[in-house]
């Protein structure tokens, strides 16, 4: 399925999505609240069938956070990137996708650990790499550590 067809199919079901085709993949920009239905659609619909979530991460744009999901369909061999904007940087929250793609379990815990994004309905929302009592989220741009050596 080409990116044009994907766009058409998604637009038929979700009206307020923005597309971005400047990069390598087709990007779908969406609000955090609508992520979950879109993801379920992308996974389950036969012509999409994005069964493989190969990268899940977060970007801190200082004003807001963006969750980035890279998806691939093993059957149709097409890629898509879903970006969800989280406006609230103080208490970022988003629905989990770890029941759709089990790999998201660890990756979401990593994002929680390093960015502080809380994933709702995640079964085991703990820090994964850092200690349980670590203060702050190191990959945030405003993270400051007095012991950090400036380069």
């Amino acid at each position: 399925m080409t990116s044009e067809e994907i766009k058409q199919s998604v637009t038929a079901l979700f009206s307020d999505v923005i597309y971005d085709e400047t990069g390598e993949f087709l990007n779908i920009l969406i609000n955090a609240s609508e992520l979950r239905p879109l993801m379920e659609l992308l996974y389950s619909k036969t012509e999409f069938k994005f069964d493989y979530l190969f990268c899940l991460t977060c970007i801190d744009w200082k004003t807001h956070l963006t969750m980035v999901y890279h998806l691939l369909s093993k059957k149709h061999r097409h890629n898509i990137v879903v970006k969800a904007k989280i406006a609230d940087t103080n208490k970022p929250e988003i629905e989990t996708v770890c029941d759709i793609w089990k790999t998201a379990d660890f990756h979401e815990r990593e994002v929680y650990d390093l960015f502080g994004v809380k994933f709702l309905n995640h079964p085991d929302m703990r820090r994964i790499l850092l200690d349980e009592d670590w203060v702050g989220y190191p990959l945030r741009k405003n993270y400051a550590d007095e012991n950090m050596i400036k380069l």
Binding site: E40, K45, T46, K74
Partner: protein, 200 residues
């Protein structure tokens, strides 16, 4: 006092002290180990009177079998690592009384009985003799008790197997054959998810 007396007393001391420590120790695993010493002492006593076969059987059965079983059951007992509770005074007193009564009764019975040497010479305790006595049907033959005991053990063994038997669940399902590029197999999951999609 000659050497054999000394050896006898050493063995007796091992047996008695092992038994006492086994009873008084507050850790159940230690009790088992002290019991082991006591049993080895008894085996030593058999060696001492040249009943070598009995001694070896004592070690095989009691040390190699019973004690290992006891230790295994200790391992599998909940909370067996902790010290046992100190017995209450009433219990301790009752136990002491029972022990004293038993001891006195035994001593009394022994003193009542007059022991005299029998005219017959005993059977030499060589393995050959023991073996032939065990399987003979003559006057001193033990074939009947031997067989009865083996039947009992067989029954016990079958019982154990029946208790221990578990119906095994196969560890994992048989896989469908994959096709060349290993993609088709995902369709099974797809159908269940399409149902979900209709709800959306």
């Amino acid at each position: 006092m000659n050497a054999s007396t000394i050896i006898f007393y050493i063995l007796a001391a091992t047996i008695i002290s092992g038994a006492l420590l086994a009873v008084t120790s507050r850790k159940i695993f230690r009790s088992a180990v002290f019991l082991l010493f006591s049993l080895i002492g008894i085996a030593g006593l058999y060696f001492f009177i040249d009943y070598e076969f009995i001694a070896a059987v004592q070690i095989i059965v009691y040390v190699g079998g019973i004690i290992v079983l006891i230790i295994f059951s200790v391992f599998l007992t909940h909370g067996s690592g902790e010290d046992m509770k100190r017995p209450t005074i009433g219990r301790a007193a009752f136990a002491a009384l029972a022990a004293i009564f038993g001891g006195v009764l035994t001593m009394f019975l022994i003193s009542q009985h007059t022991f005299f040497p029998s005219g017959k010479t005993g059977i030499e305790p060589s393995p050959e003799n023991i073996g032939s006595q065990m399987l003979s049907t003559t006057e001193h033959g033990y074939i009947l008790p031997f067989e009865v005991v083996s039947m009992l053990l067989l029954a016990a063994m079958i019982g154990c197997i029946v208790i221990a038997i578990k119906i095994k669940v196969p560890p994992h399902k048989i896989l469908p054959e994959t096709d060349e590029d290993g993609i088709e197999i995902f369709d099974q999951k797809q159908t269940t998810l399409e149902n979900k999609q209709i709800q959306l």
